[in-house]
C-alpha cells in the first residue's frame, strides 16, 4: 500500500466508527427503510417491468420492428387482432416497434443520465472541495452554461451533424445535462466539509483525494440519486422531442420519439401512431418521477414531517 493512504488509515476508522454516527446518513438508516412507502415499491416495480420489456423485446415482439410486412394491404391500418396497436405508413407493426423503441428510449436516457451524473458530481466535488478562486471561476462558468437553453443547443449540435449514431446522441445529451447536478453537489460538499469527521480526517493527515473519495462523496450522493431518477424521465421526453424533429434516433431505428416522426405527416388519419407511443412515454416518465419523489422523501433527512411540500 502506498504511504499516503497508509497514513490516513486511522482517520478512516475514526471517521466511520466514531464520528460518523453523529451525522444524518448512518443514524437514519433504519428510519430510512421504514419510510420507503408503497408508492416507492410500486414505481420501482413498474420501472423494473419496463426494463424487462426492453431487454426481452426480441422475444415479446410479434414481428421484426423494421419489417415492412405488406406495403399495400397493411399500410396505416388501425388496431386489430393481428396488430393490436395498428401499423404505420410503411406497414410496420406498431407494437413491435414500440417494444424495440423501449430499448432505445430507456437505454439512451439511462446512459445519458449516468454520464451527466458522473461529470456533474466530479465537477461539483472539485469546485466545492477546492473552494476559493477556483470555485468562483468554476461556478461563474456553470452559471453561464445553465443559462443556455438546452434544447436550442442540442438542436444546433444534432441538426448540424445529423444523422448522428446512437453513442453520439447519448454523449451529447449527457454532456449538456450535468450543470444542475454539479450545483447540487457543490452545495452539499460545502455543508459536508464543515462536519467534524472531515476535520478529523484532515487532522489525521488524510490526503485530499482520499477525503473526497472516502468521506465527502458517499455523503453527497443522495441528491445526485434523486436528480438522476428525475433526469431519466426528463431525457426520455427530451429524446422523444428531438426524434420527433427528426434529429434524434436515426431511421429506421425505432425509439418512442422517432415513431412520431415517421407518423407526423398524417396524424389526423392515423391517431394510433400519435396516441400509443405517447402513453408509453407518459407511463414511463411518471414511474421515474414518482420513484424520484418517493426516494427524496426517504433520503432527505430534513423532511421528517409528512406535510413538507415537494
Amino acid at each position: 500500500m502506498p504511504s499516503p493512504t497508509h497514513v490516513s488509515e486511522p482517520a478512516d476508522r475514526l471517521a466511520t466508527s466514531v464520528v460518523a454516527p453523529s451525522t444524518a446518513p448512518v443514524v437514519s438508516a433504519p428510519a430510512r427503510r421504514a419510510r420507503l412507502t408503497g408508492t416507492f415499491w410500486w414505481s420501482l416495480a413498474l420501472i423494473g417491468l419496463l426494463c424487462l420489456v426492453a431487454v426481452f423485446a426480441t422475444q415479446l415482439a410479434p414481428y421484426p420492428p423494421n419489417a415492412q410486412l405488406d406495403i399495400v394491404a397493411l399500410k396505416s391500418q388501425p388496431p386489430s387482432a393481428a396488430h393490436p396497436l395498428g401499423t404505420d405508413q410503411y406497414s410496420r407493426d406498431l407494437l413491435s416497434r414500440m417494444l424495440f423503441g423501449a430499448r432505445i428510449s430507456l437505454s439512451v436516457a439511462m446512459l445519458a443520465v449516468l454520464l451527466s451524473a458522473t461529470v456533474g458530481t466530479a465537477y461539483g466535488l472539485v469546485a466545492g472541495y477546492v473552494g476559493g478562486r477556483v470555485d468562483a471561476v468554476m461556478m461563474r462558468l456553470l452559471d453561464a452554461c445553465l443559462a443556455i437553453p438546452r434544447v436550442l443547443l442540442l438542436v444546433a449540435v444534432l441538426a448540424l451533424w445529423s444523422p448522428v449514431p446512437l453513442p453520439a446522441l447519448i454523449l451529447v445529451i449527457g454532456l449538456t445535462g450535468w450543470f444542475e447536478v454539479s450545483r447540487l453537489v457543490r452545495a452539499e460538499v460545502l455543508s459536508v466539509t464543515q462536519r467534524e469527521y472531515i476535520v478529523a480526517a484532515r487532522a489525521l493527515g488524510a490526503s485530499g483525494p482520499r477525503i473526497i473519495w472516502r468521506h465527502v462523496l458517499p455523503n453527497v450522493l443522495n441528491p445526485v440519486i434523486v436528480a438522476a431518477a428525475l433526469g431519466v424521465g426528463n431525457i426520455i421526453i427530451l429524446e422523444a422531442g428531438l426524434s420527433y424533429l427528426g434529429i434524434g434516433a436515426r431511421a429506421p431505428t425505432a425509439s418512442w420519439g422517432s415513431i412520431f416522426f415517421d407518423g407526423s405527416d398524417a396524424f389526423q388519419a392515423t391517431w394510433w401512431i400519435a396516441l400509443f407511443p405517447g402513453l408509453a412515454i407518459i407511463v414511463t416518465v411518471l414511474a421515474f418521477n414518482v420513484f424520484a419523489s418517493a426516494l427524496r422523501d426517504a433520503l432527505d433527512p430534513h423532511q421528517l414531517a409528512g406535510d413538507r411540500a415537494r
Binding site: 453561464a144 436550442l152 438542436v155 444546433a156 422523444a240 418521477n289 419523489s293 411540500a309
Partner: protein, 321 residues
C-alpha cells in the same frame, strides 16, 4: 443595487458571448460549409470562389473574429432555404414567438399560483392530494405530445379551434381590426394553453411549498389575531410574501419555455422561431439554425436579466443594497 446590476449585466454578456462562441465552433466542426449544399448547377470552381468571397478559406481565429463582428452587427448569414437573410427571417419570427411565450407565461403563472395557493390552504385534504397527483402527471407529459393531442381533439375531431398557423390564410386580410385580433387570439389559444398547462405544473408545486413556508410565521398569526378573515390573511398577507420565491421561477423557467415553444410551434405550425428552426433542420439550412440558436440564447439571457431585476425590485433587501 448598482453593483448588483453591473455584475448581472456582465453575466448576461458572458452568456451571449458563450452561446455565440459555441455556435461558431459547432459550425466550424460540422461537416461541410454553407456552400457544400446540393446544387448541381454550381461548379466546384464557383463554390471555391464563393468560399474565398465569404472568407471560408481564412484561418479559424480570423474567421471567428469575423463571425463575432457579423453577429454584433446583426448579420447572421443567408438562409438558402428561404432565399432571404437570416436576420430578416428572424425579425419576423421573433415577435410571434414572444407573443406566444408571453401569453403562455401569463396563463402559466396565473394558473400555477392559483392552484398552488388553493393546495396550500387545503393542505392534506383529498383535493390537495388529487391535485398533486394530477400535477405530477402533467409534469410527465411531453410538450409536443400534449400539443398533438390538443390539436387532434380540439381542431380535427371537435373543430372548435383553427388547426394551426397564426391567422386565417385567406380571410385574415379582409377582416376588420377587431376581427383580425380575434382571429389571431383563436389561433393563439391552443398552443399557448398547451405550453401554459405544462409550465403551470411546476409553478403550482413551487407556490404550494412557498405558501406553506410562510403560513406558520408570526405575521400571519398576528393578522389572524387581529381578527382578519382567512381570505384576507391568505390573499393580502401570506400570498404576497410567498410570491417572491415564485418570481425567481420566471427567470429559471425561460430556457425550458423556449425549448417547449420550439416543439409546440412545430406542431401548431405557429410561424415563430421554433417553427422556422424545425423547417431549417429538415432543409439543412445551417445559417438559419445557428442564427435561431444565437437569437434564442440572447432572448433567454435578456429574459433572465429582466426576471432578476423584477426580483430585485420586489425584494426590499436587494433594492437598498
Amino acid at each position: 443595487m448598482r453593483r448588483y446590476l453591473a455584475a448581472r449585466l456582465l453575466q448576461s454578456l458572458i452568456v451571449v458571448v458563450l452561446v455565440t462562441t459555441i455556435s461558431f465552433f459547432l459550425i466550424r466542426l460540422a461537416p461541410g460549409d454553407p456552400f457544400s449544399f446540393t446544387d448541381f448547377t454550381m461548379s466546384s470552381a464557383a463554390r471555391e470562389q464563393l468560399r474565398v468571397e465569404y472568407g471560408y478559406n481564412q484561418p479559424a481565429p480570423q474567421q471567428f473574429i469575423r463571425f463575432l463582428g457579423n453577429v454584433a452587427h446583426g448579420r447572421l448569414g443567408y438562409s438558402h432555404s428561404m432565399q432571404r437573410n437570416v436576420g430578416t427571417v428572424l425579425a419576423e419570427a421573433v415577435p410571434r414567438t414572444l407573443l406566444l411565450m408571453s401569453a403562455a407565461l401569463f396563463a402559466a403563472f396565473a394558473l400555477g399560483i392559483a392552484v398552488g395557493a388553493l393546495q396550500a390552504v387545503g393542505r392534506g385534504s383529498w383535493l390537495d392530494r388529487a391535485t398533486s397527483a394530477v400535477l405530477l402527471l402533467f409534469y410527465s407529459i411531453p410538450d409536443f405530445w400534449l400539443a398533438l393531442m390538443a390539436l387532434l381533439a380540439l381542431a380535427y375531431w371537435i373543430p372548435i379551434f383553427p388547426s394551426g398557423g397564426m391567422m386565417d390564410p385567406v380571410l385574415h386580410d379582409y377582416m376588420s381590426l377587431g376581427g383580425r385580433i380575434r382571429d389571431v387570439l383563436a389561433h393563439l389559444a391552443l398552443p399557448a394553453l398547451t405550453l401554459a398547462l405544462l409550465s403551470a405544473a411546476g409553478i403550482a408545486r413551487y407556490q404550494r411549498a412557498a405558501l406553506l413556508d410562510v403560513l406558520p410565521l408570526d405575521f400571519v398569526r398576528t393578522a389572524r389575531a387581529k381578527g382578519l378573515g382567512e381570505r384576507t390573511v391568505v390573499m393580502k398577507h401570506a400570498l404576497r410574501n410567498a410570491l417572491l420565491p415564485v418570481i425567481t421561477l420566471l427567470g429559471l423557467s425561460l430556457p425550458a419555455l423556449v425549448g417547449g415553444a420550439f416543439f409546440v410551434e412545430k406542431v401548431f405550425a405557429w410561424p415563430g422561431m421554433g417553427y422556422v428552426a424545425a423547417n431549417a433542420i429538415s432543409a439543412r439550412d445551417y445559417d438559419l439554425v445557428t442564427g435561431t440558436v444565437i437569437v434564442g440564447g440572447i432572448m433567454v439571457a435578456l429574459g433572465s436579466l429582466l426576471a432578476d431585476l423584477l426580483y430585485a425590485l420586489a425584494d426590499p433587501r436587494l433594492r437598498t443594497r
